[in-house]
């Protein structure tokens, strides 16, 4: 008995030891002068959590507003509900999956086509086909709508043209007449983030300057003012993001003119140049010319087209290798188009920062941040990250949208901007908890 008691003492002593952990004084959380109790996120695909060329559950769950909201809980944040795709439809619109590498190291992506949330495709007269998705009806804190431009926020029929917006609205396709801005401000909120405006430049750029137009600068300025006035109508505080330099994303930096030319020259050393159809100095007309490193080829350009025979009035000529058979406009954001896009983005950002300053809002300067990432990369908790396609860790397989790790980094940048402006202290997200591209 005496021995038993002795053993118990020893065991108790050991347990005591194993519970004597050090405790580090951590910083105190607080909301500062902001109120995060009802936070809403306004924006486009980046806000929705779009990734790998589609909107799907995993991306939604790792959207930067969702990550921010999770961190805000410790600084007085409330519940945050997203219009998630339900079970059996978790692959949403479908997305790209990395399924392997070719012998030359280039990636093979395959579309995911099972468990989609697509309910139909409706042709809309004078617009085209609109893909419809399973409806969501419930609370919404994340109003991110893929494809949304600032230009469209007061456009009443938008719900009939954008399937991602349509799924959030009550009522049937074809009958919608709620402008986006009215929809997001219908319910009260205390704090907002707004990262709209990217698509006003990006959709022009990603179509090689051929499939879309840049939103007029004055229109952008007017609508941004309207938007922020509405968002701050009841004195709400918030954070806005500037528009990244479109040339900082891997969609435009992965397939380069130099690399294509080098590939061709391996087989045909006499080839001197790649030809593109480029915007002239008048800013209107296009004419063929030899491509330079300042012309950006889009990620989805099928490089196998290069050199394939094309019949022309001058005979059959190889695609992309003569002035008579230039690479089509939609595959190239040429130097003049780049300059034009950058000029517009710069103007949009001037508007965003000016309006934010006027309203006392926090600003996440995504333009500067992303350019720094492109120039210098990032090193976070032992992980090297940069703006490269796949290997960089930040951008998803579409080369435009982010990986969960990329979105977590963005969430932290938004949080830092909020804390700096409102004196709040929201804990930062752990970047290591979020993945980059998935490899097979």
């Amino acid at each position: 008995m005496k021995n038993l008691r002795r053993y118990l003492y020893v065991i108790a002593g050991l347990l005591l030891i194993s519970s004597c952990k050090p405790e580090i004084e951590t910083f105190k959380h607080g909301s500062g002068s902001a109120d995060f109790s009802k936070y809403i996120a306004v924006g486009n695909s980046l806000t929705a959590g779009y990734a790998d060329g589609g909107l799907y559950l995993d991306g939604q769950q790792n959207s930067y507003p969702a990550i921010m909201a999770k961190q805000m809980i410790q600084a007085g944040g409330g519940s945050f509900t997203q219009p998630l795709f339900g079970s059996g439809q978790e692959n949403g619109s479908g997305y790209l999956k990395l399924t392997g590498f070719n012998a030359d190291g280039t990636p093979i992506t395959t579309p995911v086509t099972t468990d989609l949330a697509i309910t139909g495709v409706t042709p809309v007269l004078g617009f085209g086909n609109v893909t419809l998705y399973a409806k969501y009806n419930g609370n919404i804190n994340n109003f991110g709508v893929p494809g949304l431009k600032l230009e469209q926020i007061t456009y009443a029929p938008l719900g009939n043209l954008n399937g991602y917006y349509e799924r959030l609205l009550p009522g049937a396709e074809g009958t919608h007449n709620t402008p986006y801005l009215s929809f997001v401000t219908a319910q009260p909120f205390t704090f907002f983030s707004n990262w709209l405006g990217n698509n006003d430049a990006l959709l022009y750029a990603t179509s090689g300057g051929a499939g879309d137009v840049l939103t007029d600068k004055a229109v952008f300025q007017q609508l941004y003012g309207v938007m922020i006035n509405a968002m701050t109508a009841n004195g709400q505080k918030g954070v806005v993001g500037t528009i990244p330099d479109v040339t900082a994303i891997p969609y435009f930096n992965t397939i380069t003119v130099g690399a294509i030319l080098a590939g061709v020259q391996k087989a045909n050393p006499q080839v001197q140049a790649i030809y593109i159809n480029a915007l002239g100095s008048d800013g209107v007309t296009y004419a063929p010319r030899a491509a330079t490193a300042k012309d950006l080829i889009i990620l989805t350009f099928p490089t196998s087209m290069i050199g394939t025979p094309v019949s022309t009035p001058y005979g059959t000529l190889p695609y992309g290798l003569t002035p008579y058979t230039p690479i089509d406009n939609q595959y190239v954001l040429d130097e003049a188009e780049v300059a034009m896009t950058e000029d517009y983005v710069s103007s949009y950002n001037t508007t965003i920062t000016a309006v934010a300053a006027q309203k006392g809002l926090a600003v996440f300067d995504a333009f500067t941040f992303l350019n720094n990432v492109k120039a210098k990369g990032l090193l976070i908790d032992g992980v090297s990250l940069n703006a490269n396609y796949i290997s960089g860790g930040i951008f998803s397989l579409d080369g435009i949208h982010l990986t969960p790790r990329g979105y977590a980094i963005v969430a932290n940048e938004f949080i830092k901007a909020i804390d700096a402006k409102y004196g709040s202290s929201i804990p930062l997200a752990n970047i290591s908890d979020y993945r980059s591209v998935k490899f097979p």
Binding site: G13, I17, S18, C20, K21, P22, E23, I24, T26, F27, H29, Q74, L98, G100, F101, N102, D104, G105, T106, P107, T254, I255, T256, A259, I260, G263, V264, T303, S304, I306, G377, L379, I380, D381, G382, V383, S384, L385, N386, N388, Y389, I390, S391, G393, P427, L428, N430, I431, S432, D433, R435, S436, V437, K438, F439, P440
Partner: protein, 407 residues
């Protein structure tokens, strides 16, 4: 045509394992007195503490002890209230000594086996620093045959040859997600050996004062053909070829020490030690992989350690002929410069306190108990190599027990 997307992953598993992690647990009597012993001839542990003192031991010894070590580290990533703790794992530093010489001879031969360096940490695979380290199990076992000679009645010298068997098993997450979204992992596992020596001078200045000087040499330990195991998604396996091996060399630093023993009366012994540990030899840590690929390059990470100082003091009170009570403590400066602290054993200046008790079970057999509490000061750091940023704080609890047979 599309040879454009070279998968230049910026991933080089830079692993580092010899932190400022010296295990000062080489004898229960000495631990009880603040791990002093350079200037005393207490028992067989003198083989480690001062080979010179061995020849002054009045008896022959066979003894062994163990000091289970509970290492409690906490990491608080900057800007968060997260507390990442390392898992409860118990390291087992041990020591054993055998000392023999003919009665009244001027010499003694001895053998020591002890563990002066080591580390056992397991941070798990979900903490903020997982890409720096998941777990580490590092052991160094020194074997030291020794010869000691009493030159005069007040001066003796001794020297031992040191053979080190070192082993390491280290894991680190790799930021390469598989299709299930799980990280890859690098594991470096191997063993090697190194050689060195330990020599000391012991001076019996008077009945009331003894003095010791000792030099424990650097033991450069080389691991050849350790296993380099990379668990990565199948499509990336060719970048991390398997099987693969690595070589690495770690200099385990030299210690210069001076110690004093004071004997004011029959009951009391008071001791002071000062150690200078030559960590500045640890400039960098290089890993040489047998098979390199563009993604898996050899690495050479700067360490830039600085020399560390430890000051120790302790006392023993003999309350009865067969019972001694001991206490002590000390302060040790860190070997790791700002910006180089890593999670292997997040080093900082440390303060420690010890307690001990010795009981003579019978004429020839002693049992000794010791307890040590060590506190590594909170240290807020951004590592220059990984940018891992946050505050480390560590408590160490070390109970210990030994038995010594002497005749």
């Amino acid at each position: 045509m599309r040879k454009i997307l070279l998968l230049a992953l910026a991933i080089a598993p830079v692993l580092s394992f010899a932190q400022g992690f010296q295990v000062n647990l080489e004898g229960q009597k000495q631990i009880g007195m603040g791990h002093t012993g350079v200037g005393q001839a207490q028992d067989g542990a003198a083989v480690f503490f001062n080979p010179g003192a061995v020849a002054m031991l009045p008896q022959n010894y066979v003894q062994a002890g163990i000091s289970p070590l509970f290492y409690k580290s906490d990491f608080n990533p900057s800007g968060t209230n997260v507390q990442d703790y390392n898992a409860n794992k118990v390291a087992t530093p041990f020591e054993g000594y055998a000392v023999w010489g003919p009665k009244d001879a001027r010499w003694k031969v001895s053998l020591g086996v002890y563990t002066p360096f080591g580390g056992l940490t397991d941070w798990g695979n979900s903490w903020a620093g997982k890409y720096s380290l998941e777990s580490l199990d590092l052991k160094a076992i020194y074997v030291q045959p020794t010869l000691s000679v009493r030159i005069t009645n007040f001066l003796s010298i001794g020297a031992g040859f040191v053979y080190n068997h070192g082993s390491v098993d280290l894991t680190q997450a790799l930021p390469l997600s598989n299709s299930a979204g799980q990280d890859g992992q690098a594991e470096l596992k191997g063993s090697g050996h190194g050689l060195g020596w330990n020599a000391g001078i012991y001076l019996k200045a008077s009945d009331k004062l003894t003095i010791g000087f000792v030099h424990r040499s650097q033991v450069t330990t080389t691991i050849n053909n350790g296993d380099a195991i990379f668990t990565v998604p199948a499509s990336l396996q060719s970048s991390f070829p398997q099987p693969n091996t690595f070589n690495a060399t770690i200099p385990l630093p030299a210690t210069n020490a001076i110690g004093f023993g004071f004997y004011p009366n029959k009951q009391w012994t008071i001791a002071f030690d000062a150690n200078l540990v030559g960590w500045n030899v640890y400039k960098n840590l290089a890993f040489d992989y047998k098979t390199n690929t563009p993604e898996l390059q050899d690495t050479n990470e700067p360490r830039n350690y600085k020399n560390a100082v430890a000051l120790r003091a302790g006392a023993q009170y003999k309350c009865k002929d067969n019972l001694a009570l001991r206490f002590g403590g000390g302060y040790a400066t860190t070997a790791v410069n700002d910006g180089y602290v890593t999670p292997e054993a997040p080093d900082a200046n440390r303060v420690y306190f010890t307690l001990g008790a010795g009981y003579a079970i019978c004429k020839h057999l002693d049992a000794d108990l010791s307890f040590e509490y060590e506190h590594l000061m909170a240290r807020t750091q951004t590592n220059t190599y990984s940018n891992l940023s946050g505050t480390f704080e560590t408590n160490v609890y070390i109970p210990g027990i030994s038995l010594a047979y002497h005749w």
